[in-house]
Symmetry: none
Subunit: 232 residues, 2 copies
């Protein structure tokens, strides 16, 4: 993401005329659309790094555009709106928007908030849902796991646990984090369950379950999914 691509969905031409040069002058690539339909189409084809979305579009309700976007993309969305009602802000933010700027706004603030939104997605580009490492293959989209070419069947809980570990991308997952994500809130405290199902995952997915390479235990803290098979 060297030159982030920003998509502007905004019907007022005067505002577009202002936004496009402002953003272009900041090493951003800019796309713009004047209607919801056009904007959604562009989002699908170009997959921008960030979307500036006006809520007051002529052809469709802005909230439904946001919902549509969120159905398939997690890219940051910054709302621009003439409506300054708290109700609108809360609705948009809870629908998945990352920020909400009421018109009129200053260029400097807009740029700063864009930087914040882009900062969030810098570190974690979870674009690739397929993970391969040392004979292990995890395809979260298709729910297909395989070890050394052989497909592996996982039970519901085993899969939820694996998913929680994968989402952490190699970082530690706390006992309580895993327990509440897999067994639901209230499951904290039963660290035994974790031990049992980690043992299952190891038995099914490790070459040598007694010396795990991928499913690492962090004593006193939790577990971690190691994705560099190189480390030995």
């Amino acid at each position: 993401m060297n030159q982030p691509l920003i998509l502007i969905i905004e019907d007022e031409e005067s505002l577009r005329r202002f936004l496009i040069p402002t953003l272009s002058g900041q090493q951003y690539q800019v796309l713009s659309a004047a209607t919801a339909a056009e904007g959604l189409a562009m989002a699908r084809t170009h997959n921008p790094d960030l979307v500036l979305l006006d809520l007051g579009l002529p052809d469709r309700d802005g909230m439904s555009v946001l919902k549509d976007l969120r159905a398939w993309s997690r890219k940051p969305v910054v709302i621009l709106s003439a409506r300054n009602q708290e109700r609108d802000k809360v609705a948009a933010l809870d629908q998945g928007a990352d920020d909400y700027l009421a018109k009129p706004f200053g260029a400097a603030e807009l740029l700063a908030r864009i930087r914040v939104a882009l900062r969030h997605t810098l570190s974690a580009d979870v674009a690739d849902p397929v993970i391969c490492s040392g004979g292990l293959r995890i395809d979260l989209e298709r729910r297909e796991i395989s070890q050394g070419g052989r497909p592996v069947k996982l039970t519901a809980l085993e899969y939820r646990l694996l998913e929680a570990l994968v989402r952490r991308q190699g970082k530690v997952a706390t006992h309580s984090q895993l327990l509440s994500e897999v067994w639901g809130p209230g499951g904290e405290g039963n660290t035994h369950y974790l031990r049992i199902y980690m043992a299952m995952l190891r038995k099914k997915l490790e070459v040598d379950p007694t010396r795990p390479r991928h499913f690492i235990t962090e004593p006193n803290v939790g577990y971690r999914l190691n994705l560099d098979a190189s480390s030995d």
Copy 2:
């Protein structure tokens, strides 16, 4: 993160009185501090999931508090401020703040923006800063420490001690502070343990344990983690 812990750093008591019950009523755990010094100390000891920071504190400039926090943590920070100047907003956002709310604000909007900030740490993981200094590498988020490229295994206590030092960011940590943070309140007095475990850290993380460059002892006071390896 089942019940996210939120730290409020705010000097106006009336606002604190309003914020605390508002947040507590939303399944959040709440901590509050009235001064910058107190707030930073609480952040270091409790490591909250989100910080609400007032920029107009009496004892210190809010921006310097933000900078101090950002030196060791990427946990979301939402700024509350009476200043509504664009200049202030841009400065705070670029310094690492995640959102900026100008007073007066509505409770619903604040809660929505808190939800957004917490959502970011869940899905699009933000990484804590990685501290590097003279061959020493400390990644608090992944709990990975390495010295000269070699990964180093730390025990639970060693790690807690190192974490307490890192959060002080080069400032001295007194004996009693470290003891109560690592060994729990009541552990004060056993300066012996400190010597033992500081020795461990030095053995594992210093190039020449007999002449420490990073783990400096401040006689009669405590210890300090030196992060400029340049000083020799």
